[in-house]
Symmetry: C2
Subunit: 138 residues, 2 copies
């Protein structure tokens, strides 16, 4: 496996760890996944941007205080831009389908989040159609 491929696989693994922490409401795991060096940003679905580590982690604590969030993800893909890993994926939260971008920096030997931006997909049926079309074409 080339270094580039290995970097991308590790970023996708960090992305999976993000959703594991999210789903289980594990604040310590979520906290460990975010950069402690860079100024981080987070856009939760339907909300305005949250900027800075303290505010972002408070937003996760508030969310986890409400209980577990049975979130799933798939169709994850990663693009490397100037050494940062930009991961796109779809999220499933009950009946709600969302689209997310998660950006990671390599920091202290691990991929750490600097941005999570998620928003609802308006018409899940459009995705279902696209998925079927992808399966036909690819």
């Amino acid at each position: 496996m080339s270094k580039a491929t290995s970097d991308q696989a590790a970023a996708l693994l960090a992305n999976a760890e993000f959703y594991a922490a999210f789903s289980s409401g594990d604040f310590s795991a979520m906290d460990a996944l975010w950069s402690t060096v860079e100024t981080v940003l987070c856009v939760h679905p339907g909300q305005k941007p949250v900027v800075g580590r303290a505010a972002v982690m408070n937003s996760w604590r508030d969310l986890f205080d409400l209980g577990g969030t049975p979130i799933r993800f798939d169709r994850d893909s990663v693009v490397m831009i100037r050494g940062l890993a930009f991961v796109s994926c779809l999220e499933y939260l009950g009946d709600v389908l969302l689209s997310a971008t998660n950006v990671f920096v390599w920091e202290a030997g691990a991929w750490r989040l600097v941005l999570h931006n998620a928003g609802a997909v308006a018409d899940p049926r459009a995705i279902a159609r696209d998925t079927r079309r992808d399966e036909i074409l690819h």
Copy 2:
């Protein structure tokens, strides 16, 4: 003005140029604003991620084919992460309030987009309340 401050001001100017191109439906201006070197990503509101320059520019062409988009923005702020400029702002599209993250790389003497991710804010009244609270507290 320090170089860091100047970089941030230039990134906010590029962000303003993005919304000028968007609002006027100027495809050439929009095309010139996106990186031609990196793999770019775009999440339009309520849609799944679009990856790659050809697909992203096609999405803008499709949008501009529908006519002008009277979009405005404010509350723009920029964070520099590993040399990339992460711009957060609010967007106003008719009665719809959106939250956006636009990420720029410095390329060929200009800030060029590698990510646009926008999604509707669920309750614009919450933003109005926050704005008033900000005005009181700051």
